[in-house]
Symmetry: C2
Subunit: 407 residues, 2 copies
């Protein structure tokens, strides 16, 4: 099946709005195993839209459109499809009733212009849109399919997930399921090398993605039934985990701060942080996690030596170079000053404090608790803000390993 995506709306051509629908649909099509050959964007202009539709009809089997289904005169996707197929638009009483109900639930009368959203052509069936007033269209004719969806990403994605994706999945005759494994501490090249025997497989597939908080691995399996696909994924996941071990810290929508939070809650432990090099980035990640007040006490951020001394660090210690000793003292300080069971201290230095340019740097991470005191040294090179983020995630990962090791 050769697919094509058309985004419709003059606002997309002004450069003020980034079209997120197209990359979303592109990744969804690849999950379905459907080849995407073209994407395009066109304004709200009848002639130009007609040209784009004619071309798509000649070269593609599946045409997905977003936008142009609103109630105003600008919104001409319905008219363009009707003209392409030489069919006539007519008001569908059932659709009209649903749109009237949508407004009635909000205590409003349906504006007359919305009647345009209740029209269909003979080859089209309406696709429900519980998130808005514009139903989608599913059109089949001469062996080709056109799916017209609304432009607002929330409405489009809801319609796609609940209506369009399942129908297309039936056509392709296969179920594709996927699972994301999340790792930290290994480079993408290293992960590729370790998994080289597995990445050449075409089913399940294994793809890597470099993210801020580590390398992600997507396992996707195609099968006739969901349980087969799940079984294939489970087997591949076990193989990957056997190779990568502790580097795998989470799956799907888990976050490092979420995993750490769960471990702390389970063990009944609280956490506090002291940061210099990372400037509050780690504190902000932890404080932003849902319900983190249960286990996260807060952070002490000192950006100058003076401020470190004001907070209670030894003046002789901080006046020297950044060191593991300073990080250890900061971890202990965070613990005592904020009354937490575990303290993390992050201290670091970079060759230059310029915000731009690649610089080498060294970061010292210390974790302090009743039983255990550990520290780590990491050397990096990169832009300063990247190094700060990387250091914060290193600290989270170290803490996660520590928490898993204690009973």
């Amino acid at each position: 099946m050769r697919a094509e995506i058309i985004s419709i709306g003059t606002e997309l051509l002004m450069g003020e709005i980034v079209d997120t629908n197209t990359p979303y649909l592109a990744s969804q099509l690849s999950l379905l195993g459907i080849d995407l050959y073209f994407t395009s964007a066109v304004g709200d202009n009848a002639d130009r839209l007609a040209g784009v539709f004619q071309r798509a009809w000649q070269r593609s089997d599946l045409i997905l459109t977003t936008g142009g289904l609103g109630p105003t005169q600008d919104d001409i996707t319905r008219e363009a499809i009707a003209a392409l197929l030489g069919e006539k638009l007519e008001v569908n009483p059932e659709l009209k009733r649903r749109i009237e109900e949508f407004f009635a639930r909000r205590g409003l009368e349906m504006p007359q212009s919305n009647i345009r959203q209740a029209t269909l052509i003979p080859s089209a069936v309406a696709i429900p849109n519980p998130q808005g007033t514009a139903p989608g269209w599913w059109v089949e004719k001469e062996g080709r399919i056109i799916v017209a969806m609304p432009g607002p990403p929330g409405e489009m994605q809801f319609m796609w997930q609940n209506e369009v994706f399942p129908r297309l999945q039936k056509r392709t005759g296969a179920i594709i399921l996927s699972r994301m494994l999340k790792t930290f501490g290994l480079s993408e090249a290293k992960v590729d090398e370790l998994l080289s025997d597995l990445t050449s497989s075409s089913n399940p597939t294994l793809a890597t993605y470099a993210k801020l908080d580590g390398i992600y691995l997507r396992i996707a399996a195609k099968a006739e039934r969901p349980e087969q696909a799940r079984e294939m994924i489970a087997r591949r996941e076990a193989e990957v985990r056997a190779i990568l071990g502790d580097a795998v810290w989470g799956v799907d929508d888990e976050t490092q701060e979420g995993v750490v939070g769960k471990l702390l809650t389970t063990k009944g432990l609280s956490l506090a942080v002291a940061e210099s090099f990372t400037g509050g980035f780690l504190t902000n990640i932890l404080a932003s996690a849902p319900e983190s007040q249960r286990y996260f006490k807060g952070g002490l951020i000192a950006t100058t030596d003076e401020a470190k001394v004001s907070l209670g660090l030894d003046a002789g210690l901080v006046s020297g170079k950044a060191s593991a000793e300073v990080a250890k003292a900061m971890a202990a300080l965070a613990r005592s000053k904020l009354g937490a069971d575990i303290g993390i201290g992050i201290e670091g230095e970079s060759a230059a404090e310029a915000a731009t340019g690649m610089v080498p740097g060294t970061v010292y991470i210390a974790i302090d608790s009743e039983q255990i005191k550990i520290h780590q040294v990491q050397s990096y090179s990169g832009r300063l803000y990247q190094m700060r983020r990387r250091a914060a995630y290193y600290a989270l990962f170290d803490l996660m390993k520590l928490l898993k090791s204690i009973s």
Copy 2:
């Protein structure tokens, strides 16, 4: 001039990469006053790319392409343009020499495959690319222009700003200059209402953009000479400033934290922060500003009442509801504990701590210094992370106003 943008590369159709080049070029074309009618993306396939090029050649005067200029067999933009125009690719000795030099400066020999990047057709001139090995192409034939640029955004934008934009500006026969004014504390609707007499003007134009740190206003003027455009912008800017007053806090690439930093440095003052509601977001913004160690001492982040007491706040005070009194005590604490001239305290509460969903909330901001103690109460409704960000920018804006008022 009717323009069209073509993005070339199979990776754009996989959904893993978002094409940022197209929206960038779209907004740049609108600055030049050139109408963009179509955008499209196509994979590295000779037949499909040929089809897209033929169509574009029929319907557009200016075709901008990104991608497909690399050294490998996948990269077929040069071949596609040559085929479209029925011209022959030949190695240009000067281009070959430049690419060899690019490698030589890095102590490397030019791989044989890079010779493809040194080819031209008779209708094309090379556009320098100091950021990479792939020169762009500027092609003129039969009254139409094709500009082929590399895909990596850094290389493309450098080439666009330094080579392509100036050449196109000469063609359109006019200079367009723009200036961004940045405001805080007014809603977009309020700004529109206050400036309604100015926004209808077609030259200079005035457009508003809602951003995290306030409403931005872009003034763009078209004229024959730069000094005329600058004069038009200056007059319009004076009118806007007369209407919006103190709400305008910066221009172009200035940031709130940068403006605050300059004011603190000029006045020789240092700053510290204590946060609860905002969880370190303000501290992180301030610590991330270039050279902020000169004036920013750090932050104390306490996310629980216990932690506030551990840091030295009065237990009776913090056990009650969030209040201006707590914010004031936090501001004073930040100042004393971190040894700063000025302290900011941010305290707040929201109806629900759920990370999703719209909730109402109230934020208390206090600023404490030798001479001045002020506090503000702000009520919002929104998602929790939006409220936190908004509260942090409110505090920065309050501090900015305070610093401007003291001598």
